[in-house]
C-alpha cells in the first residue's frame, strides 16, 4: 500500500516517437492513488502507447514517469512486481492451459507454489473457467481469453492495475463481476487505470477521467463523479450532461455521411 497523498502515477512531458511519427506528445498526467481512472481517446490517439510506456513495454523518447512514488525505468523490477497489466492484445501464451498460464504468472510475480495454486483455482472458479483443464488458450473464445488475461493481471494482488479495454467481448455477468472486483480493489486504496471506448461504463465506474487526442495530447482531466448525481461538467463555457457529449466535443469526432448506406 502507498501513502494516500502519493499519486499512483505521475507523468511529466512524456513523448514517444516512432521515427518521425509522434505517437505521444508532451503528455503530463497525475493519477491519484485509490481511484478508478479512465484514460480515454479516439482510435490511434496514443492510449496503448502511453500504457506501453507506463508498464515498461516501450521506451519513452522523452519525459519522466513515476509509479507508486518511485521513478520507473528499465531496471524497475521490484516496482513491476506491484503492477498488474492486462494488455489490449492480452499477451497470452496460447500453447498453455489456463491454469498453467496463471500459475506461471503467479510464480513470476513471486508467489510461493502453494499460494499460487490456491489463487489459480479460486480465480478459475470465479471466472467460470473451471472446466477448461484440457483446453489450450488458443482454443478459448474471445471472452474466455479476456477473463484469463484479467485473472493474470490480478493474481498477485497488485497496487496498480492497468487494464486496456477490459470489458470488450465479456458477457454482462462477467462485466458485472469484474466491476465489483475493481471497486473492491480501489476501496483498499489501490489504483485502477483503464482504457475503454464504452463511455457509459467509464461514467458509471470511474471517478476521474483523462481524455487525449491524436497524437497523445491531453485535452481534459477531471472528476466525473458529478455526472452520477445528475450534475453537469462545465468546459469551454458549455455544460455537458454526459461523458459522451464531452468526449465528442473535445475530440471533434463527427459522423461521416455515407449516402449509399
Amino acid at each position: 500500500m502507498i501513502p494516500a497523498m502519493t499519486p499512483a502515477i505521475e507523468v511529466a512531458n512524456l513523448t514517444k516517437k516512432y521515427g518521425e511519427t509522434v505517437a505521444v506528445e508532451n503528455l503530463s498526467l497525475t493519477v491519484p492513488a485509490g481511484t478508478m481512472f479512465g484514460f480515454l481517446g479516439p482510435n490511434g490517439s496514443g492510449k496503448s502507447t502511453t500504457i506501453g510506456c507506463l508498464t515498461g513495454l516501450l521506451d519513452p523518447t522523452a519525459g519522466d514517469i513515476r509509479i507508486l512514488g518511485e521513478p520507473f525505468n528499465d531496471g524497475a523490477v521490484a516496482l513491476k512486481r506491484r503492477m498488474g497489466v492486462m494488455p489490449e492484445s492480452l499477451g497470452l501464451f496460447d500453447a498453455l492451459y489456463a491454469h498453467e498460464f496463471l500459475f506461471f504468472q503467479a510464480r513470476m510475480f513471486g508467489l510461493d507454489e502453494e499460494t499460487a495454486r490456491r489463487r489459480v483455482s479460486e480465480l478459475l472458479d470465479a471466472m467460470e473457467l473451471g472446466g477448461t483443464g484440457k483446453k489450450r488458450l488458443s482454443e478459448f473464445s474471445a471472452g474466455m481469453r479476456k477473463r484469463v488475461a484479467f485473472a493474470a493481471a490480478v493474481i498477485h494482488g497488485p497496487d496498480l492495475l492497468f487494464l486496456d479495454e477490459p470489458f470488450e467481448s465479456i458477457d454482462p455477468a462477467g462485466v458485472a463481476s469484474i466491476k465489483q472486483w475493481l471497486h473492491k480493489i480501489t476501496a483498499q486504496g489501490r489504483t485502477v487505470f483503464l482504457t475503454t471506448h464504452v463511455l457509459e461504463t467509464v461514467e458509471r465506474t470511474c471517478s476521474e477521467v483523462a481524455i487525449i487526442t491524436r497524437p497523445g495530447k491531453l485535452v481534459w482531466q477531471g472528476d466525473i463523479s458529478v455526472l452520477d448525481r445528475d450534475g453537469t461538467i462545465a468546459h469551454d463555457g458549455k455544460e455537458f450532461r454526459t461523458l459522451e457529449q464531452l468526449f465528442l466535443h473535445l475530440t471533434g469526432e463527427r459522423y461521416a455521411q455515407l449516402d449509399w448506406l
Binding site: 508498464t55 523490477v77 510464480r107
Partner: protein, 532 residues
Amino acid sequence: MLEIPVMNAPLILRLVGLRYTLLWAQTRTRNGRIALFLAGYLFAGLIVILMTAGGIGAAMVAVRSGQAEPVAQAVLGGLFVNALIASVVTGFGINTAFTDAALRRYALNLRERLAARHLTGILEPIWIFVLGLDLGLATGMYVFGAGSFWLGVVAVVLLLITDYLLARVLATLIEWLSHVRGGTAILFLMLMCACLLPSFLIPRLANAHGAKAAMMAALHYTPPFAAAALMAHAGAGLGRQFGILAGWIEALLLALAAIEKQAARPRGAVAAAAAWDNRYDRIASIFGPAMAPLVGRSLRYYVRSNKVRFNYIAAIPLLAFLTFNRASGATETGPLHYFVRALGAFAVAGFLGTAVMSTNQFGFDASGFRRYFLLPIAPGAILRASSYTALFVGSTLVAAAWVLWLLFAPVPFDPRMAPMLLASGVGGLCLFNALAIWTSLLAARPTNFETTFGNQLSLAANVLLIGGLLTCVFGVVALDKMAGPAAVLRWWWVPIPAAALAIAFYLYSLRRGAIVFVSRRERLLNTLEGRN
C-alpha cells in the same frame, strides 16, 4: 437437360492473384527483399544449369544414346522424388495459402473452394519451377525428334498434378497423425522405414533372382514412368499411360479427401478440471528458482509443438540414414568410414530436433511476447531461459545418439571414438544454438504454433538449418576422402578444444544477445504481432 455446373472462375482466379499479391507483399520488408534477390539469383542460375543439364540437355543425351524412354524415366523420376522430398520435408509448395474455413467468407461452394485451394497450391513457385524443368525435357525430346510436343506437355502437366497431390497427401497425413493419439509412434515407424529400409532392401533385391525385372515392371505403373512413356511414344499404349496417370490422380484425390475429412472431425472437448502436471516444472527446477517458471513455460512449448515433435523423432533416423547411406556422396563403406560420417551427424544431431523453434525462439509467442516485458525480471533472463530449453531438449538427442552409437557401433570400436563423438555433439549443439540466438533476434518471424508443415522460417534460419546440415554431412565426407579415418582418429583430441570454443561462443552470444534483445524489443514486438 443435363446442367453442367459452372465454376466461379473469376473469383477463384482472383484468389490465385491474391496469393501472389501476398507473396509480393513480403518483398516490402527488408528480409523479404533479400530473400527475393537471393531466390531470383538462385532461380536464374538453376534454370540455366538445369535446363541445359537436366532438361533439354537430358533430352539430347536421351535421343543421341537411343535410350529416350529410360533417360526420360530417370530425369522425370528424379525430379518427381526431389520435388516431393523438398515440399514434404521443407514445406515449400504445400503451405496452405487459404484454408477451407478462410474461403467460406467468399461466395464459393464446396467444389469451388476445393478448386481454389488446390489451384493456389499448385501455382506456388516451387511447382512452377518443377514444371519448367519437366517442360525442358519434353521440348528437348520433341526438338530432337523423340516424341510429340503436345503429348509431352500433357504428360508433364499430369505428372506435376500427381506430384503435388502426393506431397499434399503425405503432408496432410503426417499433420493428422501428429495430432492423434499414438500418431507419433506411427510417424516414427514410418520414418524409420523410409530412411532405413531402402539401404537394407535394395542390395538384397538386386541379388535376388527375377526381383529386378519385377521391380522394373512395377515401376512402369508409377507416374514418372507413365509420363516418360507418353513423352517418348506418340502412338502405342497411349490410353494405358493416360489411364495410369489418371488413376493415380483419382486415387490421390480420394485419399486426400478422406484424410482431410478425418482431420476436420472435431476433437471432443471434454470439460475437465485443471490437472497439475509437474513434470515440466520439475525438469525446469534444475535451472534454479528464478529461471524455472520461464524454462517450464518454454519446455511446454517445445514438447507440445507438432513441428518440434516431428523433427525430434525424425532427427535420429535421418542422421542414421545420412551416416549409413551413400546418398551423401560417400563412396567408402566400413566401420571407420561410418564413424567419420557420424562425426558430422553428431554435430548437427541436437540442433535438428529443435531448430524450427530455436532459430525463431519468439516466433511462436505471438502477443505473448508482449508479456515478457511486463514481468518483473531482467529481459536477458527470458532469452537465456528460451535458449537453455533448446539446449536441454537438443542435448537429449545428442545423448540418445551417443548411447545408440556405443551400443550398436559397427566394430571394431576404438575408445577414442566416444569422446570425439560426444565433443562433436556438444560442440555442434552449442555452436548452432549460439547462431540460433542471432537468427531469433535479427530475423524473427511470426509462426503458427499448430501446424506440422510449412516452412515458416526466415531466410537466415533456413540458411542456418539447411546450410548447417549440408556443411556437417558433406564436410565429413570430404574429410573422409581427403584425410581418411586413420588420420581422423590420430587427431582424436581436436574436437574437444573445438567444443570448448563453441561453448565460449554460445556464452558470448547469450550475453551479447541479451543486450540486443532489449534494444530491439519494439521492432521484435511489431514483427511478431504482424505489424512488420
